[in-house]
């Protein structure tokens, strides 16, 4: 039976925790709004890009001279998995769900006898994957200094990936991130970015191309990769804040429940102590 003082300390400490989780929840809510806004703002560009690329790639994919970024290297031996996670913890199952998906994919590919390489973006994913796939890790992109994800960040990730692809270090590149659906639902998503896959857009046959269709495609494909990564990073950012918000909401509620529970125990034992004292006094008086 804990003493009254112990209980009092415990309640005070839980109250502090609740204050912290409550504050974190509110901070995440504000950050989530910002992240959603930037995801929203980035949408027109990505949509246009995909529409144009869809049209271009539909007509180019059939020709023999299709760029390697679109047609692939003709092999799928070496797979590069780009796993995007957060830099900080305390966001519920956010990182674990991405890592779980990536791990399942990696195991599946290894079982098929393919070479798997892993590039991590964000510290948390690296920590979790390092345990099992230490020999498969080929790189890490540190985002801890990045306050707000900009296109430049996506570009540097894209450059890294493209350089590896150009050097023949990988045949297929897949990115893993959480697609933001709502504050309580984030969908872990695997998306293949090289060779590029676009929804076949409506035929763009009516366009004039300057300089030429192939040249434009060759110029746009690397940008398309960067745009896809940028979209993924933004979705991931919003998902992270959403996940943290609901995790902190849960934590706050749990802390509230614990406080009620411990307060009841505290009051009961205080009452018990008083009753005991009274009985002692009364029985003492009766004995006289």
């Amino acid at each position: 039976m804990p003493s009254l003082k112990d209980l009092k300390n415990k309640i005070a400490s839980i109250k502090n925790t609740r204050k912290i989780t409550k504050a974190m929840q509110m901070v995440s809510a504000a950050k989530l709004r910002r992240a959603q806004e930037s995801a929203e703002a980035a949408r027109p560009y990505a949509e246009r890009m995909n529409a144009v690329m869809g049209g271009l790639s539909a007509s180019a994919a059939t020709s023999a001279s299709a760029p390697r970024l679109l047609a692939g290297t003709g092999s799928d031996k070496v797979q590069l998995l780009v796993v995007m996670t957060s830099e900080r913890g305390l966001c519920g199952g956010f990182n674990s769900t991405i890592v779980r998906l990536a791990r399942a994919k990696a195991n599946e590919l290894i079982a098929q006898g393919k070479t798997v390489k892993i590039l991590t973006v964000g510290k948390k994913g690296r920590e979790q994957l390092r345990r099992d796939y230490a020999s498969n890790m080929v790189g890490h992109v540190d985002m801890s200094e990045v306050k707000r994800v900009g296109y430049a960040n996506a570009q540097s990730v894209a450059r890294d990936i493209l350089a590896r692809f150009e050097a023949g270090e990988c045949d297929v590149v897949t990115i893993f991130y959480n697609r933001f659906q709502s504050v309580i639902a984030q969908i872990p998503t695997a998306q293949q970015i090289i060779p590029a896959k676009f929804e076949a857009g409506s035929a763009n046959a009516l366009y004039d191309y300057e300089p030429s269709e192939e040249a434009i495609l060759a110029d746009l494909l690397p940008r398309g990769v960067a745009t896809q990564i940028f979209t993924a990073l933004l979705e991931n950012g919003a998902s992270e804040q959403g996940a943290r918000m609901s995790a902190m909401d849960n934590a706050t509620r749990n802390a509230g429940e614990m406080i009620t529970k411990y307060t009841t125990i505290y009051n009961r034992s205080r009452q018990a102590a008083i009753t005991k004292e009274l009985i002692e006094i009364i029985s003492g008086a009766e004995a006289l």
Binding site: S38, A41, A42, P44, Y45, A46, R48, M49, V52, L56, G150, Y151, A154, N204, L206, Y207, D208, Y209, E210, P211, A215, I216, D219, L220, R223, A226, T227, F230
Partner: protein, 130 residues
């Protein structure tokens, strides 16, 4: 009186401009082109240069470093990787751009295109009035 066309300028991060213009001058990869109402549908890549939009409210200029433009019957959309209103461009930001490109050119395997990018940027600096 020339008709008007819808002009959109979007960067990866946000929509920078959306307005009705009478004339848009685009620094295309193969040379400058001016788009007016009724232009044939075209997709062109951009070289670093100055994008000018002439509308009823006057002329607006943006310095763009690359991207592409989609010209349709409905209007023009320019997807630029980086676009800065000309009045916000300073000597130092311009120099930083050129330094970036030169650094990229130094390590780029495709020497010609990288050198061309630097040359385009230098030409753009002149065009922007520095």
């Amino acid at each position: 009186m020339a008709g008007s066309l819808q002009f959109d300028l979007v960067s990866p991060e946000r929509r920078l401009a959306s307005l009705s213009a009478s004339e848009v001058q685009i620094p295309g990869a193969d040379g400058d082109l001016t788009v007016m109402e009724g232009h044939a549908p075209t997709i062109t890549t951009l070289r670093p240069g100055v994008l000018r939009i002439i509308s009823a409210e006057g002329t607006k200029s943006y310095v763009v470093t690359g991207g592409f433009a989609e010209i349709t019957a409905a209007g023009v959309s320019v997807l630029a990787e980086r676009a800065v209103p000309q009045e916000e461009i300073t000597q130092s930001s311009m120099d930083a751009l050129i330094a970036d490109a030169s650094a990229a050119a130094a390590v780029n395997s495709d020497k010609d295109s990288a050198d061309k990018a630097v040359a385009d940027l230098l030409a753009m600096r002149t065009a922007a009035g520095f």
